[in-house]
């Protein structure tokens, strides 16, 4: 990444668009603090006090980031306990219901379809009710019904004040939630806009 300066306000829903290899995934992994930048700085500030927030963002990657050998419930309980979520059993159950996998909670993830794995991946990222949510092509593997469910879930999160940064390919119900579009090319920001027509052109760029 080069020449990337972004300041994202609480509650914004930022869509990152760009060709393959433009740096969307790298930017999201740096924001998730999984990759240490060789130069530059990343800071999270809580809206209330202006102090750097210590909580980690929620992150959904290309890979599901859950254990194939564990059941859906075991996966959520594991990550809920690691993040010291209050009442982990209740939180895991609520999220399993929300992502539509409660009936399959005792099935090992290995037996899930790609779409179901994506749902459990999203549930894992939401366990600790993050203030910032980073999503790398979150609709991957989801059927049209799943995409509608995801768009609804993200809309609810945005309305609750969650800041969302996601990479998308093409226009969809999910990208339509964007309040801001950032176009990346060769590791740099080519366009950054919040206004209607230009935002549409950035989202449309994802189709190319």
């Amino acid at each position: 990444m080069r020449r990337v300066t972004l300041e994202i306000a609480p509650g914004e829903c930022v869509v990152l668009a760009g060709r393959n290899g433009s740096g969307k995934t790298t930017l999201l992994r740096i924001a998730a603090q999984l990759v240490r930048p060789s130069a530059g700085k990343l800071s999270f500030y809580s809206a209330a006090a202006g102090e750097p927030a210590v909580e980690r963002p929620g992150y959904v990657a290309h890979a599901t980031m859950v254990y194939d050998e564990l059941t859906a419930e075991e996966n959520l309980l594991l990550f809920a306990r690691l993040q010291q979520v209050t009442a982990p059993e209740a939180r895991a159950e609520a999220l399993l219901r929300e992502v539509g996998l409660f009936e399959r909670k005792d099935s090992v993830v290995r037996t899930f379809s790609r779409g179901m794995r994506q749902r459990i991946a999203i549930a894992r990222a939401l366990l600790h009710t993050p203030a910032v949510l980073l999503l790398d092509e979150p609709s991957t593997g989801l059927d049209p019904l799943g995409v509608s469910w995801l768009a609804g879930a993200l809309r609810n999160l945005r309305e609750a004040g969650c800041t969302i940064v996601m990479s998308v390919h093409g226009e969809s119900e999910v990208s339509a939630l964007a309040t801001r579009g950032v176009r990346l090319d060769a590791g740099g920001v080519m366009a950054d806009t919040k206004t209607g027509a230009k935002l549409q052109s950035i989202l449309h760029f994802g189709n190319n």
Binding site: R29, A32, Q33, L34, V35, R36, R56, Y59, A61, H62, A63, T64, M65, V66, Y67, D68, E69, L70, E74, L78, F79, R81, L82, Q83, Q84, R124
Partner: protein, 224 residues
């Protein structure tokens, strides 16, 4: 507090995953069993030879089996990028190492305790007389192997030729552990058993130094 609770949660996951698949334990037990049985049939050692060479063979087979066991330790975290989700979830990355090395030590120790009676019968070596000391040296040796092996497994998992890299790094590094563990075991299996304190002290210091190094620098081994 969060280090202890995160480690306990992760250790639970490691044990659950292994006892469900029995992938590592089966491989290790079968490997050690084959080495011990084949060596016994090939050389048919006398009781004196067994006392002298048996401990070395036993520790060598433990070491090779450990390199098999440690290989998938971090490798299987890469299948679905679960290492990233763990790094995001834990407050102290040392918990990831601590849980894995506790699980590896436990699996290795379990395998060794299963193999010890078979070794004693095949090689006609007494083990009951100094069993408590034998368990101590097995624990210290296995801990040393697991600490160094877990750290190297994290390094090799991100490298090319990872299957080859781990044994290449691990075996030379663990030579002092092999020598010390063998010396102590030879003493304990002697006709007049004695405790080789120098070897036990060396193993304890090796474990402490490598554990401290892992605590200090482990975080950097997990970075992409």
């Amino acid at each position: 507090m969060s280090l202890a609770s995160n480690t306990a949660v992760l250790l639970g996951k490691e044990l659950r995953t292994e006892f469900r698949s029995r992938e590592l334990l089966t491989t290790t037990v079968v490997f050690i069993l084959m080495v011990v049985v084949l060596f016994s049939f090939t050389f048919d050692p006398t009781s004196g030879e067994s006392r002298r060479f048996g401990p070395g063979l036993l520790w060598l087979s433990f070491l090779f089996a450990a390199s098999l066991m440690l290989q998938p330790c971090f490798l299987r975290e890469q299948n679905s990028d679960t290492l990233s989700s763990l790094r995001l979830a834990v407050s102290d990355p040392f918990a990831i190492f601590l849980a894995k090395l506790c699980a590896n030590t436990l699996f290795l120790l379990l395998t060794e305790l299963l193999m010890l009676p078979i070794f004693a019968i095949l090689y006609n070596v007494p083990i009951l007389q100094e069993l408590h000391w034998l368990i101590l040296v097995l624990f210290l040796g296995s801990l040393g192997v697991s600490i160094a092996g877990t750290a190297l497994s994290a390094i090799s998992a991100q490298a090319r030729m990872r299957e080859l890299l781990l044994p290449l790094l691990l075996l030379p590094l663990l030579t002092p552990v092999l020598v010390a563990s063998t010396q102590v075991t030879v003493g304990l299996m002697d006709q007049s058993p004695y405790v080789e304190w120098k070897g036990i002290g060396f193993l304890a210091i090796f474990d402490l130094v490598f554990l401290t190094a892992l605590w200090l620098f482990g975080e950097y081994l997990l970075e992409e």
